[in-house]
Each structure stands twice: as structure tokens, then as C-alpha cells.
């Protein structure tokens, strides 16, 4: 279920908000300023020239100015300026203020839907301001200005004297000398106009770029149905149960169909209720109503308010675990948002969810299943009366899933908490006291749980060893990689790694975060030249033929560059297509999509309208379209539900049979035995 996609409205029509920044606003400000700083720190490794990069670096701020009110823009600007000076030194300040002006102006222009004439006007005004600012600064710093002009004048004078000796050039040199003198005397003319022109170009490029961003990403104010419920926090005392819902109908803003139609439901304290139904049936919408969102029609009666996130109120667990963690360590995350005065027994909470003793573990080292347990511990810290789990098990591997459901099932008896567990896996509903089935936005059945036959375990045969006679596709020998070699920050990520992958062979490499996995992936793909050792395919270093080893990244969105599926697949195959597609291109893209099991309807779908599983397959389709010899996959199953995993495995098995060599880098082994005959472990940079 993609709640965010459903709840985004496409037109920027925010009601003017006042008062302190909401969490959503702070998150937006923080993340976008981090993006601006990250882009600056990396110097943005793009093949574009200076002014283009500078203009594009203002876009994150412009996005905030387009989406949010001025107070948020100001916080973003302050954070960007402060952090870029922390990361990049004082020089970042000098260009910083001018770029803040550009970002704010451009975001505002788009927000007001003002066209190019207005953009030119704003550009000219900002250009004039920048010229004045430059001249005033240089007037104030008069000694530095005179010094630098003098230094430049002297160097130029030396060059001119050399040129003067060349016969026949003397008259020309005299003219140049006059020009030089004029430039030094009238510094404000050219320095001022130079600053103005740079600023004008910056505004125009940023204006065009933000326009493209808005067209492709449907950035609008995010209308989260839970927002109203969150804003009423602390207004009255929480009392979510017992709840009685009558005739509930819900329609998302901008939608033409009801997500829920006339739903009646009662919940008592201390129940475990499973809510099942196919994708898109309205299960998640029901979850948001339970958590306190106001329905479009119908009545919800409770003794108090839902009290989302409050002590004794309602807790809500979502699907994506890696985005829910807020603390750097397990303990910090559990305590997040509770007052210091609240007595939180972290050890007992961790014990209850099966994470005993992990208080000090950094959250980024936890697996998906552990993260979801951590999110549950954070929710339980507030002793909620109602726990709503919205497909919280969808992205955990089956082993972790069973244990997690077991923990939730014990909560009613243990803490008196009512648990509503939403799932599309019938096996998880088996044995629940009560199972509510939702179909097409209506309650189809609401009955005591029957014993549903558990799904037969998937019998995936372990892939047999590949014949040693197959040729070697990828050869890695004695690879050691040290970052920042010879500096105080020297760290060795990989030590003496040897690896041979044969044609048609799959190799699984597991390891914790920080074990050198991403360094290894980048070296295998030729993006990083190892400090020592060789990494070759076809007898030549991979780094000399970047692209011959394909790399499927964990976060597929980062790999997709063009606006639509068809254009991206063509781009991946080496064709930068513009304009409408011809029948030849359509046939080609449809066949590539079919090779990864995607339907032809996705041809013209926007990249950002795809689900996570679809994105991953489109990225894979693009990689396979080039027929690479070797494919490296980084965490291919992270964040995918069971069906998507099965589909992806099928595609990869076919590719292996066609002679592809496969290296899978993952932190769990789930479902990979059928692809990889060999399993190696990466531990502190050593491969065993």
C-alpha cells in the first residue's frame, strides 16, 4: 500500500499555516538543507559546468520555498548556510547568501504560478541587488580590494612587458595597458556587472530546473490524513477504546472514488484483530481512521480522542522500517520523543520485543525485522491502549515475520493493549480471535478466526554448483582498499579479497553494515579503483570499462534518470530518445519489460508513479538490456513484499541460465539459496 502516493495532491494550495513548525515541516527543512549541503560537498560530480552546478544547488531550497511557508524556508536557509560553512569553510558563506536569494525567489515564482516574464523580472531585480551587494562589500573591504587589484595588475604588467619585446607587438600592448588601467580604476563596472550577469543566469537556470522538477515529481503540499489527528494532540485526554464506527466513508482529496464505503466496526479493549484483504481494498485507510483521521462521512465514537503517539493513546506501525528510526542507537530511538521525566524502562521494553541487551547498538546495524521490533518498542514506551499495525510485516523476511506477529499477539494479555494487525498474508491472520475481511472498501466478513491452512513453504532448491569448466567472468585478486591513504583519516575497508565468479554462477556475499559491502560493490562495478590488487573482466580492469559490470543499487529510484519508464529503458540501453516513440522503440521497450515480468501498460508510466517493487524491476530491466557479463545486486530484496521477491527471483534465475554471472550482496540470506550456489561472508573487510 502506498499511502503517500495516494495522499499527495497535485496542486499547491496549502492553507496558510501559522505558529511553530510542524514535524513534517522540520523534516522537510532538515532533509532538503542536507541535500543542498551534500550536493555542495561532493562538488556535484556531474559533467556540467560551474554556473549550472551552482544554479542546480539552489533547487533544494527552491523546492522548500515552493512547498512550504516562509518560516520553513527561513529555517532551511539558516541550516544550509550554517552547515555548508561547517562542512566547506567560510568561503561557502560568500556564495551562500546570493544562492539563498535565488532559491527563495524561484520557489516563490513557481508557487504563484508566475511565468517567464516574471522570472526575468525577478532575475533582473536579484541581479541588481547582487551587483550592489558585491560593490558595497568591496568598498568596505577597501584594503583587500586594492591589494588584489594591485596584485593582478602587477602580474599582468609582467606578461605585457614580455610581450612588448616581441617585435611589432608594442603598439597593441600599449592599448592593452590602457584597457588594464581602465579596468583597475573602474573595478566596480565589471565586477558589479559580472556579479549581476551570474545572478541572472542562476535565476533563469534554477527557474527552469524547478519547473522540470515540479512537472516530473508532482511536488505538492503533502496532505497526510493523519495530520489533523496529530495537531489536536494534548487538547483532550486520550481514550481510543472502546471505539464504535458507523457508516464510515472516506475519499482522498482529489480522488473520484471512495476508499471506504459505509464501514461499521466496533473494537473493545484487549482484542487481537486481524484485518485482511487484497491490495487497494481500503485496509490502510481503515487504519488511518482508527488512528484518528476524520472520515468524509459517518461517525466514530470513542470515550476520548485517539491520542496518536500519546501515552495511553494510539500507536501506529507503518510498513517501511528503515524510515521510522529516529535515534542513532537503539536506546536513543526508544526514548525519542518521550520526556526525560517519563520513566521508560528501556531494558524491559527491549526484552518484550525480543531485542534484549541491544541498547547500545547503532540502529543502522539492525536488520529489517529488528527495526520493526524497535519501532514496536518505541510505540510501547507510551503504553498505548490501541496499536494499529499497517502491514508492518510486509517487508520482513518470513522467519522474522513469525516472531514479530507472535510478539504482537501477546500484547492484549500482557498489557491490555488492543492490536489491529493489517496484513495481506492470510497465514498471519490464522488463529486471530477475530478476522475482519475488507473487500472494495466494505467489510465483507467479521468473524472469529478460523484455522486457515498455512501456506506451503516455498521449496526452493539450492542451486547446484556450477561446472568448474565454465569460463571466469569476474576475477578479483588481492584487493585491498584504503580510504584517505596516507592521511590521519586513513581507514582500510577491504583486505586481501580474492574472488572468481564463473559464467552462470551466483555468489552470495553477506555481511553487516560497515563490513565493506558497499566498497566491494563499487570496486566490482569499476566505480572505484582499489588501492592494491586487480578486479578484471574479460582480461581488462573493470574500471577501464565502466558499465561492463552492471550494478543494481539498493535504492532503485537513484538509478532511474529519465521521466518515464520507456525513456529510461531506452536511455539505459544507450539511446537518448527525445519526442514520441516510434513503433520500433515501443516494441523494444515492451520486450525488455516482459523480460522482467512487467506488463506493457507501464510503458508511459512516470518513474515516480511506480511502486517500490516496480521501480526495482524497471532498473533491472535497464541493466539487463545491455547484456552485461556480470550483474552485482546490492540488497536486492530490501523493502520488497513476498510477491515482488518471488517475481524478482524468477527473473534472475532466467538471467543466470542465460549465462550471466551474479554477485548478490545482502545482509540476509532469505530466498537467495535458489540463485546462489556459493555463500561467502564479509567480515571487517575480509571475505571468507
Amino acid at each position: 500500500m502506498t499511502v503517500t502516493a495516494q495522499t499527495m495532491t497535485h496542486e499547491p494550495a496549502t492553507p496558510r499555516r501559522r505558529g511553530p513548525m510542524t514535524p513534517v515541516e522540520i523534516a522537510s527543512a532538515g532533509v532538503m538543507s542536507a541535500l543542498a549541503v551534500a550536493a555542495k560537498v561532493l562538488g556535484v560530480v556531474m559533467p556540467a559546468g560551474g554556473p549550472i552546478v551552482a544554479a542546480l544547488a539552489t533547487v533544494p531550497l527552491a523546492v522548500v520555498a515552493y512547498q512550504h511557508r516562509f518560516r520553513v524556508v527561513l529555517a532551511t536557509a539558516a541550516a544550509t548556510l550554517a552547515m555548508s560553512s561547517v562542512m566547506g569553510g567560510a568561503t561557502a558563506w560568500i556564495t551562500g547568501l546570493a544562492s539563498v536569494g535565488v532559491g527563495v525567489a524561484v520557489g516563490w515564482l513557481h508557487r504563484r504560478r508566475l511565468g517567464w516574464p516574471a522570472a526575468w523580472l525577478a532575475g533582473l531585480v536579484l541581479a541588481a541587488l547582487n551587483a550592489v551587494q558585491t560593490i558595497v562589500t568591496l568598498l568596505v573591504l577597501s584594503e583587500s580590494r586594492i591589494l588584489s587589484l594591485k596584485a593582478a595588475r602587477t602580474s599582468a604588467e609582467g606578461m605585457l612587458r614580455m610581450l612588448e619585446r616581441i617585435p611589432g607587438l608594442a603598439p597593441t600592448v600599449a592599448v592593452w595597458r590602457d584597457v588594464l588601467d581602465w579596468l583597475v580604476q573602474h573595478w566596480w563596472v565589471w565586477l558589479g556587472s559580472g556579479a549581476a550577469v551570474t545572478q541572472l543566469i542562476g535565476v533563469l537556470i534554477a527557474y527552469a530546473a524547478l519547473g522540470a522538477v515540479i512537472r516530473r515529481l508532482h511536488l505538492g503540499p503533502v496532505a497526510d490524513p493523519l495530520l489533523a489527528a496529530l495537531e489536536s494532540r494534548g487538547a483532550s485526554s486520550p481514550g481510543p477504546l472502546p471505539v464504535s464506527m458507523r457508516g464510515i466513508t472516506f475519499r482522498y482529496p482529489g480522488s473520484t472514488v471512495d476508499a471506504l464505503q459505509g464501514v461499521d466496526l466496533d473494537l473493545a479493549p484487549g482484542e487481537f484483530v486481524a484485518v485482511v484483504g487484497p491490495n487497494g481494498s481500503g485496509k490502510s485507510t481503515l487504519a488511518t481512521i482508527l488512528a484518528g483521521a476524520a472520515p468524509t462521512a459517518g461517525t466514530v465514537s470513542r470515550p476520548g480522542v485517539a491520542g496518536l503517539g500519546e501515552a495511553g493513546g494510539t500507536a501506529y506501525l507503518a510498513q517501511r522500517t528503515e524510515l521510522q528510526m529516529l535515534g542513532d542507537t537503539v536506546e536513543e530511538d526508544v526514548r525519542w520523543g518521550t520526556d526525560a521525566a517519563d520513566e521508560v524502562d528501556v531494558a524491559a521494553l527491549l526484552e518484550a520485543v525480543g531485542l534484549a541487551g541491544l541498547e547500545r547498538t547503532p540502529t543502522k546495524e539492525l536488520s529489517g525485522g529488528q527495526l520493526q521490533r524497535l519501532a514496536l518498542a518505541g510505540a510501547l514506551a507510551r503504553r498505548p491502549a490501541l496499536l494499529v499495525s499497517d502491514e508492518s510485516t510486509a517487508m520482513i523476511d518470513p522467519a522474522g515475520r513469525a516472531g514479530f506477529v507472535e510478539v504482537m499477539r501477546g500484547l492484549p494479555a500482557r498489557l491490555g493493549t488492543t492490536v489491529v494487525h493489517i496484513t495481506h498474508d492470510a497465514a498471519e491472520a490464522a488463529g486471530a480471535e477475530r478476522v475482519v475481511r475488507i473487500v472494495d472498501g466494505r467489510v465483507a466478513t467479521d468473524a472469529a478466526g478460523a484455522e486457515v491452512a498455512a501456506r506451503p513453504p516455498v521449496t526452493a532448491a539450492t542451486r547446484a554448483q556450477v561446472l568448474p569448466s565454465n569460463p571466469i567472468a569476474l576475477h578479483v585478486e588481492g584487493v585491498t582498499h584504503t580510504y584517505a591513504l596516507g592521511t590521519p583519516w586513513q581507514t582500510t575497508a577491504l583486505r586481501d579479497v580474492d574472488l572468481d565468479v564463473r559464467v552462470g554462477e551466483g555468489v552470495l556475499i553477506t555481511g553487516h553494515n560497515g563490513s565493506g559491502k558497499s566498497t566491494l560493490a563499487r570496486i566490482l562495478a569499476g566505480l572505484l579503483v582499489p588501492t592494491y590488487g586487480v578486479c578484471e573482466t574479460g582480461g581488462k580492469p573493470v574500471a577501464a570499462q565502466v558499465g561492463s559490470v552492471a550494478l543494481a543499487m539498493q535504492f532503485s529510484r537513484l538509478q532511474l534518470r529519465r521521466p518515464t519508464v520507456a525513456l529510461d529503458i531506452l536511455d539505459a540501453a544507450g539511446v537518448r530518445w527525445r519526442g514520441p516513440l516510434g513503433p520500433e522503440q515501443v516494441d523494444y521497450v515492451v520486450s525488455v519489460l516482459a523480460s522482467v515480468g512487467l506488463p506493457p501498460e507501464l510503458l508511459h508510466r512516470g518513474i515516480d508513479d511506480l511502486s517500490g517493487g516496480q521501480m526495482r524491476r524497471v532498473a533491472l530491466a535497464g541493466l539487463l538490456a545491455r547484456q552485461p557479463r556480470v550483474l552485482v545486486l546490492d540488497e536486492p530484496f530490501a523493502g520488497l513484499d513476498a510477491d515482488s521477491r518471488a517475481g524478482l527471483t524468477e527473473v534472475l534465475r532466467g538471467a543466470l541460465d542465460n549465462g550471466l554471472a551474479l554477485v548478490v550482496i545482502s545482509h540476509d540470506t532469505e530466498g537467495l539459496a535458489s540463485l546462489c550456489g556459493r555463500h561467502l561472508t564479509l567480515d571487517q573487510g575480509r571475505l571468507r
Binding site: 523534516a27 567560510a90 544507450g574
Partner: protein, 269 residues
């Protein structure tokens, strides 16, 4: 591990030396100063340098910075490698000014630039970014009298700081993905279709735009998810607060800076 001497020479790309200054992985009297002290002293000395760029000032400030560098135990290997382009520009300018007759002006100008950069580098070498956020919050507090919401700014800065490593990775991944594709395309390209300067500029703008949109898309999703997670867990993050404890070191730093600034202003009157 094999001793370095027994190893073959590392490849060229790994011998680039240090990049941007960042916090040195050890403690020193300078790293134990309150970060606000360093920010204020650096601001004062930089202002003095750029408003009065005389030999006397440059020399005294350079001497102060060298003492600080010794106290912070900054090794030579931490100093960023000067890019070839900058080095050749310096040499070209030097030769020109030698012929042009006023070599001291040129040297003074160069020295000014080096000393200003050295000051910034010292701050970055001795301060972790995580220490600077609360210091910013403290230094900004007086602005609250003007009803500026500095607490929100500090919270935003803390979130920004947490996000920078992740987003640096993500922007890097986008650039990697782009390299993987461009690398492929370069091999495929039979005839260079776009050779003109304007066409190349346009192409690189389109390229940059694709990269930017991928990065903004990923960030927008992250922001939405983080905002939702924060609201579900009790709202706005706590404002990073510090208890400012000024020690002898801070006193010495303030006194030293004040002495340098006052002395320079009197001497140059």
C-alpha cells in the same frame, strides 16, 4: 597485514592525499575548547585580516595559527593537496609579478589567501560538526529577542547534520549510476552527434537535471517519511542544548585574540 614497504605501490588514484579538512581523529587542547570560542575568535581574526591586509597583521595572525596548529598536532599529511591548476596559476602570477616589478604586493596577496584558508581549516580540523550545532544554537540565542525562532533553526540544523552522510551517499549513488550509463554510452557511440559548445552545454544541463531530479525525488520521499515518523512518535525533535563550560583554554583564546586585534589596530593607527 603485510608491512607497507613489502607491498607494491598503491595505484595513482589512491595517492591523492587529503581532501577537505575534517576533524582529526584525536583530542587536543584546541579540540577541547568550546566550539563557540573558536567560531568567535576565527571571525574576529578573519575580519581583521580582510580589513587590514598588511604584512604585520598577516604575520602575527599566521604565527598565532601556527601555534594553534602545533597545539592541535596537525600533521603535514592532513594538509589538502593543492590542485595542479591552482599551483600553476600561482607560479604564472609569480613570474608575471616578478617581471612587473612589484613582487611584494603579489606575495602579500597570496599570503593573505593562505592565512584566511588556514584559519578555516584549523576550525574544521579541531571541531566535529556535531559539536558545532549546539554551539550555533547558543550563539544564535540572542536573536530570540527579535522573535527569531532560533530553536526551530537549531532543530533543523541537527536534522540536517544527521541527514548529510545519508544524502551524500545518495547523491554519490546517483552520480555512480550516471557514470555506469554514460560509460556504456561512450562505448556505444558510433559518431559524436553533439560537438558544438552550445549543444554540449545543453546536454550537460539535461544530464545535471536528471541527476538532480533523482536526488530530489529520493529526498522528498525521505522527508515525508521522517516527518510522519516524527509526528507518530510525539512531534518535534528536542532542541540540541549544551551547557557551555568555559575553561582556561577558552579564556586564553579570547584574551589572545583580543590582544592581537587590539595590538594590530593600535599599531596601524
Amino acid at each position: 597485514m603485510t608491512p607497507a614497504s613489502a607491498r607494491p605501490r598503491p595505484n595513482l588514484a589512491s595517492r591523492r592525499g587529503a581532501g577537505m579538512p575534517r576533524a582529526l581523529p584525536w583530542e587536543s587542547p584546541i579540540s577541547r575548547l568550546w566550539p563557540g570560542t573558536k567560531l568567535l575568535c576565527l571571525t574576529a581574526l578573519t575580519t581583521l585580516l580582510v580589513t587590514r591586509p598588511r604584512w604585520l597583521v598577516i604575520g602575527v595572525v599566521a604565527a598565532v595559527y601556527l601555534v594553534v596548529a602545533l597545539l592541535a598536532r596537525v600533521p603535514r599529511s592532513a594538509v589538502p593537496r593543492v590542485p595542479m591548476l591552482v599551483l600553476s596559476m600561482f607560479i604564472g602570477g609569480f613570474i608575471g609579478s616578478a617581471m612587473g616589478g612589484d613582487i611584494m604586493v603579489y606575495l602579500r596577496f597570496t599570503a593573505l589567501g593562505v592565512v584566511v584558508l588556514l584559519g578555516t581549516a584549523l576550525l574544521l580540523w579541531t571541531t566535529r560538526p556535531a559539536q558545532l550545532v549546539p554551539a550555533f544554537a547558543t550563539l544564535l540565542r540572542p536573536l530570540r529577542l527579535l522573535r527569531v525562532p532560533t530553536d526551530e533553526w537549531a532543530a533543523t540544523m541537527a536534522l540536517c547534520l544527521r541527514g548529510i552522510p545519508v544524502l551524500t551517499d545518495e547523491v554519490g549513488a546517483v552520480a555512480d549510476a550516471s557514470r555506469l550509463r554514460v560509460g556504456w554510452q561512450q562505448r556505444l557511440r558510433a559518431a559524436p552527434e553533439q560537438t558544438g559548445g552550445w549543444a554540449r552545454t545543453r546536454a550537460s544541463y539535461a544530464e545535471g537535471l536528471d541527476i538532480l531530479i533523482a536526488a530530489v525525488s529520493a529526498s522528498a520521499r525521505r522527508a515525508a517519511a521522517t516527518g510522519r515518523a516524527m509526528t507518530l512518535r510525539g512531534g518535534v525533535p528536542a532542541v540540541p542544548r549544551e551547557r557551555v563550560r568555559l575553561g582556561w583554554g577558552d579564556l586564553v583564546a579570547f584574551a589572545g585574540t583580543a590582544a592581537v586585534v587590539a595590538g594590530a589596530l593600535i599599531a596601524l593607527r
